[in-house]
């Protein structure tokens, strides 16, 4: 017998949120937050900023769904993605104004430094983890595979051909490297997404005055 997909549809979630169901807000937020974060990272290259703007996006979405239903709830992903993009654009405009606004320079420098430090910390922890993964790989060929695939964005088939690998072997090397990388990141502490989730749910819990 086929396993039924228990995931509620966006239409269901929208209706429940409109009816005041807080669990559905939580469910929706957890489902869409990783995608929102990645859209923002894609536009800014900044993991720390992505977490901040993701929170803002979620607050806007939840507030909107609480107050007014969407005309086409099944198109929620497109709506969410657009809000995330708009927030990035607004942030860029703000950034541009900051650079030309002498009066607020001191305050903004503090804000920039804090976000910059967080960004550096995320990149640093990724670098530490991937350096260890590479160092643990005995074969230079496997290390080269990792760099060519993830850093140089080279085609998998081309890499396999040049390194004399079958595609299943390639996938095994990649799978092991990814697993080890994630294991090392987890050992370094909470991941960015975990921190984000904790922060967001603390924020959203205090946002009921919005509607």
């Amino acid at each position: 017998m086929p396993v039924q997909n228990q995931e509620p549809t966006f239409t269901d979630l929208s209706h429940r949120i409109r009816a005041g169901d807080k669990r559905s807000e939580d469910q929706l937020s957890r489902r869409i937050a990783p995608g929102i974060t990645q859209i923002i990272v894609g536009m800014t290259g900044n993991f720390a900023m992505a977490q901040e703007l993701c929170q803002e996006t979620l607050i806007i979405i939840i507030s909107r769904l609480r107050s007014q239903p969407l005309d086409e709830p099944d198109k929620l992903p497109a709506f969410v993605a657009q809000i995330a993009r708009n927030l990035v654009a607004a942030e860029r405009r703000k950034e541009h104004r900051r650079k030309t606004d002498v009066d607020s320079e001191a305050i903004d420098q503090v804000a920039d430094q804090s976000q910059g430090q967080e960004q550096d910390a995320q990149r640093e922890s990724a670098a530490v983890a991937i350096r260890k993964v590479l160092a643990e790989m005995k074969s230079i060929r496997d290390r080269s595979l990792l760099v060519r695939y993830y850093l140089r964005d080279e085609d998998k088939k081309e890499i396999c051909r040049e390194l004399g690998l079958t595609e299943p072997s390639f996938n095994v090397i990649l799978f092991r490297a990814r697993s080890r990388f994630l294991e090392l990141l987890e050992k370094q502490g909470l991941s960015g997404e975990d921190l984000f989730c904790l922060t967001f749910f603390a924020v959203i819990a205090t946002q009921h005055w919005w509607i």
Binding site: R30, A81, A127, V147, F181
Partner: protein
């Protein structure tokens, strides 16, 4: 994430999707946290590698094998020579002492197989007795192991002579076929007598299979 989505995630991170494809993929990520998680890992690995490259730490990692100092390599080579020479001396003076009689399936190449023999532990039966020709080819032992998933198995053969056990080489069985672990034995180096084949699984569990071999000329 399905396999067909992987190239899209690759291309999304590489920035080679068209605007329309990006929009569709981003909507899919909103709906699918697993897809977003995959992109997240790719980006973090990429960011880490970029930082290593900026700091010029990447090239040394790619050009250097996990090398030991040169003198250690010579010392290791010397140690191997000593062990090999020692083993050869011991083998030479043993009463019945071929160094290698066990072969895995990958080692036999196109060698002829003279007989297929089944080794299984049963409550009723005693040790199996096999009569095999000395020079007709390899003996293919199909071993019915308790845990077919316990690969790789380390296989060891010993002759249980009254004057003391004589061990032969160990071999490895990387995988089972239909529940059987396959190993090949070269009878040219064996005398008639009692033997024990032991099979150790990856978890350390060991099964032993005693048998008697009559080797005919």
């Amino acid at each position: 994430m399905t396999l067909t989505e992987q190239p899209t995630a690759e291309r999304y991170v590489a920035g080679t999707l068209s605007d329309e494809e990006v929009a569709r993929f981003e909507e899919a990520m909103i709906d699918r946290p697993d897809l977003a998680a995959d992109v997240n890992v790719r980006r973090r690995i990429k960011a880490g590698l970029q930082l290593l490259e900026q700091r010029q730490e990447l090239d040394p990692l790619l050009s250097t094998a996990n090398r030991r100092p040169q003198f250690l390599r010579y010392a290791a080579a010397a140690a191997v020579l000593v062990v090999v020479a020692g083993s050869w001396s011991v083998w030479r003076f043993q009463a019945a002492g071929p160094a290698q009689v066990l072969f895995s399936a990958t080692e036999i190449g196109t060698a002829n197989v003279a007989k297929n023999l089944l080794l299984a532990r049963t409550r009723a039966a005693g040790a199996s007795v096999f009569t095999v020709p000395r020079n007709a080819g390899l003996l293919h032992f199909q071993i019915l192991v308790d845990d077919p998933d316990g690969t790789p198995f380390v296989v060891h053969l010993a002759a249980t002579a009254t004057s003391g056990a004589i061990s032969f080489n160990e071999s490895t069985i990387p995988q089972t076929t239909d529940g059987f672990a396959d190993i090949y034995v070269d009878p040219r180096e064996l005398n008639s007598g009692d033997y024990v084949l032991s099979v150790r699984s990856q978890s350390g569990a060991e099964q032993t299979f005693p048998f008697t071999l009559h080797v005919t000329p």
